[in-house]
Symmetry: C2
Subunit: 348 residues, 2 copies
């Protein structure tokens, strides 16, 4: 099973072997219009015999690269791999291949997106927080779809969860359990340079509305997007809290950090109820059992690929898909429960 000969097999070699022209071979491999069955058969067998594989670089020079790119902000947040998984799977059997360019959190994905564009992907999905003006320009150049951005461009497609409703669901869930103090832990503004369209920004807005609608006062804690930032923020919060508190966290990865603190302080779900967002697989694990707002990353990945392929096939009007969120109630949230009275020494 040879992969390629020393000096790789070119379309010319195939043409000679089959006794036809390069143009003919080219048509066959793209199964373009205008080839007889006989010709197709000859060429196909030559391709098989020589184990010919077209060089993508050469194809990209004139036509397509048959490559779709995905740029993700952090591969360590388990939500994003789900998106990729959905996208990858819905591409099996198609001539397109998915490649992922992971961004390093520091550069906001600029580099990754440019790298993908430089590689002439035929379509690009981005999940990061680059300025919208930049995306408008990019969207004019190639099929583009953003995930998680609330913004209706005419130059590209978008997929978003309904974060306003998601936040409402989270707050409603805690409120209905009986909680009357509900705090939102979310990412610091600086880390969400997307502006008003970022998912966390919208969730925070939804949080405020939902809380005020119920006659409570919104409390929002901003944290840096580091792994342990949520842990610390939760510690500050819970160290000083007297009564039960409901905590709505911007995403599950951060919520895991909050659960860490809750566990370390030995608090019950009634004393500190936690609701996350994304419903990563782990949330359902019995040892974690994190109540979360589900928005299917897998489904988003599938949709993204579909939108891209539609654009490639010729669609020009923008499409904006909205994915409905739903509450997955688990044991991390429960009816409020008073904490035993603390003595005066609240940690020296």
């Amino acid at each position: 099973m040879t992969i390629q000969a020393k000096r790789s097999v070119t379309i010319e070699d195939v043409a000679q072997h089959a006794g036809v022209s390069r143009a003919a071979v080219s048509k066959v491999i793209r199964d373009a219009y205008g080839v007889s069955d006989e010709m197709r058969a000859k060429v196909q067998s030559a391709i098989t015999e020589l184990d010919y594989r077209p060089r993508v670089a050469a194809r990209a020079m004139r036509g397509a690269s048959y490559t779709l790119g995905v740029e993700i902000p952090s591969i360590l947040n388990q939500f994003f791999p789900k998106v990729i998984n959905g996208a990858t799977r819905s591409l099996t059997g198609s001539p397109y291949q998915l490649i992922v360019a992971p961004a390093v959190p520091e550069d906001d994905g600029f580099r990754a997106i440019e790298a993908l564009a430089d590689r002439q992907v035929d379509g690009l999905v981005t999940i990061t927080r680059v300025p919208v003006a930049w995306l408008e320009t990019l969207g004019k150049q190639l099929p583009l779809v953003t995930i998680g951005r609330h913004y209706a461009s005419v130059n590209f497609d978008t997929i978003v969860g309904d974060d306003l409703t998601g936040a409402e669901l989270a707050v409603g869930h805690l409120y209905d359990l009986g909680h009357r103090r509900i705090v939102h832990i979310t990412l610091a503004e600086s880390s969400d340079a997307v502006g008003a369209g970022g998912p966390h920004h919208v969730r925070a807005e939804g949080f405020r509305r939902a809380v005020e609608r119920r006659g409570m006062t919104p409390e929002v804690v901003l944290v840096e997007p580091r792994q342990d930032a949520a842990t610390e923020a939760a510690r500050d919060l819970l160290d000083t809290a007297d009564g039960p508190v409901g905590i709505f966290v911007a995403h599950d990865e951060l919520a895991l950090g909050v659960l860490e603190t809750v566990a370390e302080l030995g608090l019950t779900p009634g004393q500190a109820s936690v609701v996350g967002y994304d419903d990563i697989d782990l949330a359902a694990h019995p040892l974690i059992s994190l109540t979360s707002i589900n928005q299917s990353g897998t489904q988003m990945g599938v949709i993204a690929v579909r939108l891209l392929l539609e654009r490639i096939a010729g669609r020009t009007e923008p499409v904006h898909e909205v994915v409905a969120p739903r509450v997955m109630a688990r044991r991390s949230s429960a009816a409020p429960q008073q904490r035993p009275h603390r003595s005066a020494d609240a940690r020296p």
Copy 2:
């Protein structure tokens, strides 16, 4: 901040703008030998003004693609994202860009690897279970490094954890706690077509040796690589077990499934002690607290990039790196504890 003009800026445009030849521009962007400072300055400013970005496809036709590819078997197993993260980070500031091609478990990574090769990556790291003969061929064509494969090729570099020792550590840990029945849950042979060189194969071998050396009988349970397979296997095992049992699981993702069962059956760590492998971040979470064998994925990613860049720079002798494992003892494993006598009805 324009990305590209409508019709993208070419090296020719830059050359004209700077009043020099295309060749000169080419030399500057690769900072190749033989350009005066003055020329360099002129060209640089032209590049900046026009916001020129070289097209990778065109570069790849003659020279390099400045792209390193990583193929991973499953993006849902948290160990692999760590490898990618390590690799990505150690590439910041270099002219090389990392792209990831996720394999769908069904095709064993063939498609992903070929896709990467077709895109003329300058180097390739693979973590999957394709036949070694295939890799030998591939390794002759481009810089290649495998992760997790115990096999010393002359055609490519390798990075492996010392899985034999890792298994010994796991068994030793359980034995020292007092366990005298130790079971290994690992992936079914079919899913590890790598043959004798696969990490799980070697861990299983290490398990057998370690257990026999201590005078016990090796028990190995094979499961399919599905999320819930380990959960079911553990249920079968623990439903029929009377005494305490130590369970050494092939990797953490599966171990999480085992912990699920342990939790559902309400068993204590003493009754069912679990040890995983990989030490994914989550293992340290207080709600999980999974004892695991650490082999730094991040470090492996960093090494992989280094090896590839060395090869690209001209090295030809193969290098085989071994990463030492160590036990991270946590609460999922504990000294054996008898289970209360069960009544006769062991699930109807």
